[in-house]
């Protein structure tokens, strides 16, 4: 367990990078420190392995004040991954992975075995990579090795300083996934600095959002999405990423605005033709005031033998619909209750305003996901 107790870091007289920080990180927890640049997240991280010494306060690891440790010994017991990867270009991959082991005085044999074991852990063939040099690897592979290097001496705590920040989006996503898998197997205590909210949401057990050296909010990802503490958190998360419960979203936000309709007086042939042209298999039947009268499906038409009548003849009884202003939750319940895949949306006068389908629910989800991806690739 890592505990920050009233930790401050001041540079010079004025600039306070971290102000009176209190934070507890449990064993086996992956905590992301996130915030805009200059918020103190990296300073906080580097105080754990004493690359930066706090001006005030204490940091405890498993109850022991780290100020009492020899910094060199302390660092050998803590894994460290940096954005610039920092593999030693003069060493082979095997040597790079086990560099801390070498500092501990491992034998050659033990180093080699550990390097092989770790490479297999990320599906890199040891016979191919052990003797290679860092420059022969792609950026993503290099950072995989960077992570393995931090794991090699089996530290309980690993510090990661924007480890995937310099990678292209696809590789970054892969490595995030791999880190998550590794974490499921290894249960390390990981402190992970990032400025990328998607990354934090994806990997974190708990997110610590900082601004100007102060923690603004600390919460598990979905808790933070559901109950952002203030306007700053909302803006930092990005509005379109906020989880809104189905009780808050209105049907008109997700419905198809212009469903294909047909007037009740039209003939069957015309209805078929319209379905064919518009690639749908059901039509909203309306009167000349756009009031919803019912729905005809392609099956209804095919089943009815005499195709001479108009679509009105096919309508049977009242139609299930939702009203503008109802929530998505209510709509979903109605769909389930009546066993239908779509629901017309009507206003108070009974006029057709739109159509909610399962597909439109999927669309809205996709849109949210795509938006957050675009924001991500711009930043």
């Amino acid at each position: 367990m890592v505990v920050f107790e009233q930790v401050s870091k001041t540079y010079g007289d004025r600039y306070e990078a971290v102000k009176d920080l209190n934070l507890q990180i449990q064993v086996g927890e992956l905590v992301t420190l996130i915030g805009p640049s200059g918020c103190g997240k990296t300073t906080t991280l580097k105080m754990v392995n004493r690359l930066i010494e706090p001006t005030k306060g204490s940091i405890y690891i498993n109850g022991k004040n780290i100020a009492d440790f020899d910094p060199v010994e302390l660092r050998r017991g803590i894994g460290y991954v940096i954005q610039q990867v920092g593999l030693f270009p003069n060493m082979t991959i095997a040597q790079n992975i086990t560099v801390v082991g070498k500092l501990w005085g491992w034998t050659r044999q033990k180093c080699l075995e550990r390097a092989e074991e770790l490479l297999r852990l990320v599906d890199m063939d040891p016979s191919v990579y052990l003797e290679r040099f860092p420059k022969e690897l792609s950026g993503g592979q290099q950072q995989r090795i960077g992570v393995l290097r931090a794991l090699a001496a089996e530290p309980d705590i690993i510090l990661m300083d924007e480890p995937f920040g310099a990678l292209d989006p696809i590789t970054r996503e892969q490595l995030q996934g791999e880190l998550k898998k590794l974490q499921e197997k290894l249960h390390k205590t990981i402190i992970f600095v990032t400025h990328d909210m998607d990354e934090a949401l994806k990997i974190a057990d708990r997110i610590v959002l900082m601004r100007d050296g102060v923690v603004v909010q600390e919460a598990p990802p979905d808790e933070m999405l559901r109950n952002p503490a203030d306007e700053f958190v909302i803006n930092f998360i990005g509005k379109n990423r906020l989880l809104r419960s189905p009780d808050e979203v209105r049907v008109e936000e997700v419905m198809i605005k212009k469903p294909v309709t047909i007037e009740v007086t039209r003939g069957m042939a015309e209805a078929l033709e319209r379905m064919r042209k518009r690639h749908v298999d059901s039509l909203m039947v309306v009167d000349n005031q756009q009031r919803l009268l019912g729905i005809v499906t392609i099956k209804d038409i095919q089943v009815s033998l005499e195709r001479k009548g108009n679509v009105g003849d096919l309508l049977t009884g009242p139609v299930v619909a939702v009203q503008v202003g109802q929530t998505v939750r209510e709509a979903v319940y109605q769909m389930a209750e009546h066993g239908v895949g779509y629901l017309p949306v009507i206003d108070a006068e009974g006029r057709l305003r739109g159509l909610m389908t399962r597909a439109s629910l999927v669309d809205i989800l996709t849109e949210v996901l795509w938006c957050s991806r675009e924001v991500d690739s711009v930043s």
């Binding site: 660092r75 050998r76 610039q84 270009p89 500092l103």
Partner: protein
């Protein structure tokens, strides 16, 4: 009238001991000793200069001044300053000349090591010494070797002036040839000296490549 090149060959054939002795002295006393001493002094000094700012200024300024003094003047000054005549002033002058390239390259080579690598090294728990031996020196090695190569070539060339201070080496033939206006004698000294410089440059370049860690070669 005997052609010049025959006179050169004749001289070498008639005075083999003098010729090969001069070459041996040139290599051993005027190159290996001063460059060797310079490595022993300049590499540690260069390392220390990257660690202490005050030392950095003193060391670099002194070495730069040494390099600026004309070689003949430096040699004369050393004689006047009481080193006498012969090898001591010659070796001292060449040693001082070799200092700067090695010192400067050691310093630059170490300074140019990516700061993130140093941070990674520190963050993983290397001591300052381990960082130096495992990371910084291997990465700076090539640049340091380039400094040694420059120093060697300078010594081979400037070493020909040592004869003026009464030391041996190939300079003896050049000085004597100039005094007697014997062109062939000048060539007996000058051509091997030039060839030696070119060869040293070439082979040290090869060595430089071979000692570069495999992961750093182009």
């Amino acid at each position: 009238m005997t052609p010049l090149y025959l006179k050169v060959i004749n001289f070498i054939q008639n005075h083999p001991q003098e010729f090969w002795g001069a070459i041996r002295d040139h290599i051993l006393i005027l190159v290996l000793i001063p460059v060797g001493l310079a490595i022993l002094v300049a590499v540690p000094l260069g390392i220390l200069a990257t660690r202490f700012r005050w030392l950095e200024r003193i060391v670099m300024a002194t070495a730069n001044i040494m390099q600026t003094i004309p070689s003949l003047a430096l040699l004369a000054l050393l004689i006047v300053m009481g080193l006498g005549i012969g090898y001591p002033p010659a070796i001292t002058a060449l040693f001082l000349y070799s200092l700067l390239p090695i010192l400067r390259n050691t310093y630059t080579g170490l300074k140019n090591v990516d700061p993130f690598l140093k941070e990674a090294a520190t963050g993983m728990g290397m001591t300052k010494m381990q960082q130096l031996y495992m990371v910084e020196l291997p990465l700076a090695f090539r640049v340091i070797m380039a400094g040694i190569r420059t120093a060697t070539v300078i010594c081979i060339g400037t070493g020909t002036l040592a004869a003026l201070a009464g030391a041996g080496g190939l300079g003896i033939f050049i000085v004597r040839g100039l005094q007697m206006l014997w062109n062939h004698l000048i060539i007996v000294g000058a051509v091997p000296a030039a060839a030696m410089a070119l060869l040293a440059d070439y082979f040290l370049g090869k060595i430089e490549y071979l000692v570069t860690p495999r992961g750093l070669r182009d």
